[in-house]
Amino acid sequence: MALVEIRDVHKTFGKVEVLKGVSLDVEEGEIVTIIGRSGSGKSTLLRCINALESVDSGEIRVEGQTVHARMPDLKKFRQRVGIVFQAFNLFPHLKVERNITLAPLLTGRIDKAKARALAADVLTRVGLADKIDAWPEQLSGGQQQRVAIARCLAMAPHLMLFDEVTSALDPELVGEVLKVMEAMAKQGMTMILVTHEMGFARNVANRIVFMHQGRVWEQGPPAKLFANPETPELASFIASAK
């Protein structure tokens, strides 16, 4: 059984059908990168996997559990599925340590005595141990995004979703975030990424999924997909992304 099973998912906003029957499996430990043009439904699909959006029809299962916005143990489910957003979404009124430990403390995952050690541990993993007492506003964009990743790691998720996490960063800050994600990939974390970083997708992902017009248009190993795209849409997308 795959860790994530997506079956014929449809999602409409108003009159616009954003997802038109998406099906996809993601195995445990796999790194799947979703690419595609703006409006192809990539981010919506990620938000559906985390129940931030409900699907209109079809089914999403994570670890065998059907996902929807009114599932009874939604809060527990979300602790197992971390998501990192394009805009970091750190809490500006909380220092880095508190940003990281707020959810583990409030959900009872850890007690107060272990909170700082947990924050220090996950910050070390993203290379920001010295920023534990900083305010988010005092950090660069790349550092804020790494703290956002650390905040997710503190919940010990089984699956990580990344929604264009480098899109809002200055080019010189992109590398530091990708490096952290690469390290997580090496440690065996199951990851689904939406990204425009083609180099990263090619080097790190086990599989590339190309979405087009709300559908999974083409998918396969990076080397094959980038070298021999089967559809003109993917060929055109790769050419435009170069």
């Binding site: 979300r78 979404n89 009124h93």
Partner: protein, 219 residues
């Protein structure tokens, strides 16, 4: 001009100022609670409750505070609720302050981006935890300047309670004037006292603001 005849009334003036402060602080605290509850109701999904809060806001923001005090003091006894002057003024002023606070706090809540809520939800927090720990602190910071301005207006507005004979500063001034016939001196003194109290609160709020909202503002 002779201020000396007022000297013997200094204790009454101090007592009046204390009552004014009590009336202001009690009404502001109660009004603030009404404001938070009302703002949450306005953003909630229960339509009749939203209408009720909207009606309350419009009623109290579009009628004179003096009439509101009169209604609580003179009209409610007809329905079995008889309150002493101070309590009646406190109830009316709390409702008045609350009506303004609802809108101020609602605007503060609206200023928090939806993405902050989603970030909290994605960490597995409950609706209440997201509200209490993620939305409320920055929302209160954004609402704080307007709330403190409203507080000073409330402080000055407590003088209306003199019309139902609550023993606050303005009522005491009337009493002293009737005894001394020194209108200018009496009102000059209480004007200075109101000014001093208002400026003191402004300074206090500035210090409290710095202590409570320490995080840097977005660049």
């Amino acid at each position: 001009m002779n201020f000396l005849p007022l000297w013997r009334y200094q204790n009454q003036l101090i007592d009046g100022a204390i009552v004014t402060l009590e009336l202001t602080v009690i009404s502001a605290l109660a009004g603030l609670l009404i404001g938070i509850a009302g703002a949450v109701a306005l953003k909630g999904r229960i339509t009749p409750l939203r209408w009720l809060v909207r009606g309350y806001i419009e009623l109290f923001r579009n009628t004179p505070s003096l009439i509101q005090i009169f209604i609580v003091f003179f009209v409610l006894p007809n329905f079995g609720l008889k309150l002493p002057a101070f309590e009646a003024a406190a109830v009316a002023l709390s409702l008045y302050f609350g009506a303004y606070s609802v809108e101020i706090i609602r605007a503060g809540l609206d200023s928090i981006p939806r993405s902050q809520v989603e970030a909290g939800q994605c960490l597995g927090l409950s609706g209440w935890q997201v509200f209490r720990h993620i939305i409320l602190p920055p929302a209160l910071r954004n609402a704080y300047p307007a709330v403190t301005s409203q507080f000073v207006l409330l402080l000055l507005g407590t003088s209306l309670a003199s019309q139902v004979a609550a023993d606050e500063l303005f009522h005491v001034a009337g009493f002293i004037e009737s005894r001394t016939y020194r209108s200018f001196e009496v009102y000059a003194v209480i004007c200075a006292v109101y000014f001093a109290m208002a400026m003191s609160f402004k300074a206090l709020f500035a210090i409290v603001g710095l202590a409570a909202f320490r995080w840097p503002r977005r660049r």
